[in-house]
């Protein structure tokens, strides 16, 4: 079981794609993982420290930051795979 280098890059790309396509309002809000989960009784204190909040933040930032580079990377990989057959 040797990891080829190209294989690892493809696996990583697919995983990041999977994180980036989780739709914010159709899926994450349903299961309570959206970025605006805070009760209005606090007034200003936002729960920023727990593992779940950090995960939610991570998913949101992957979605916003990596959208354009992912498009470019996916196009490159698709063209590469088409050429290689």
């Amino acid at each position: 079981m040797f990891f080829g280098f190209g294989n690892i890059i493809l696996v990583g790309l697919l995983l990041v794609n999977a994180i980036a396509v989780l739709s914010e309002d159709r899926f994450l809000a349903r299961i309570g993982w959206s970025t605006t989960v805070q009760e209005s009784s606090f007034g200003g204190a936002q729960d920023n420290q727990s593992v779940k909040a950090k995960l939610v933040n991570l998913i949101a930032s992957v979605r916003t930051l990596l959208r354009i580079p992912l498009i470019i990377l996916n196009t490159v990989v698709v063209i590469y795979l088409i050429i290689l057959g």
């Binding site: 079981m1 990891f3 420290q49 593992v51 991570l58």
Partner: protein, 270 residues
Amino acid sequence: MADPTAQMGLHMGKSAFDAGQQYLESNMNRWVNVASLKHYFNVSNSYVVSKLRLVLFPWWHRPWSRTQHLSHNGGQDFGVYAPPREDINSPDMYIPLMALVTYILFSTLLAGLRRTFHPELFGLTATTALVVVFLEIAIIRLAMYLLSINNESQLLDLVAYSGYKFVGVILTLLLSEIANRGGGSGGWVGWGVFIYTFAANGFFLLRSLKYVLLPDTSPNTNSGQAYTASRSHRQRRTQFLFIYSFPLQFLFMWILTRDSVPTAVLTGSK
């Protein structure tokens, strides 16, 4: 040399060479922090021997904290860690680098002895080992972000800590090869040595990473954060430390000691 043209040519060549070297140095300093890299290779022979013994027998070692030189720099003092030459608990990059290269060469040698050698094996083994190290660093970084562990430990520290397992892997491969006479790394001896080196490596990591991942035991850090970590937080961090040291290392060490082809097929045994 009294020939003036030759002298001029020599002078021009020398100044061109100096300019090239300066260009290289300025670019290297931007990408690779050479000064901190030198800290990791500042080892001595006695350090290497004692560190190897520590990786394989970590049970009776007492103080695991790294010594610091407190240096005053314009009013604020921060701790600069002692180099590996003076402090046996300090991680170095010499042993992991040598162990990685030895692992690659040794497993290709074993493949050659079993007559399954092909030249791409070098690249495959190197890629596998580097991917394992990269995955470990990624997991630790992810956990540090998710668990809000604010730690200024350097990247190369973590690389060094994850490189120490290659020592155990090499030992496993060597001893199981000698004992099984080319029959692969299964069997009693192979698994026994593997379990021992895995336990030693896990204990070593547990003790060393305690200072990296659980930061609330040092009384004189002047980080401005108050002690806000709740008890469940600390529990989670400790749990992660355990999960990282033992099951994950088991997985990674097992990956590294696999054979590429089932050797029972090759040697015709069983």
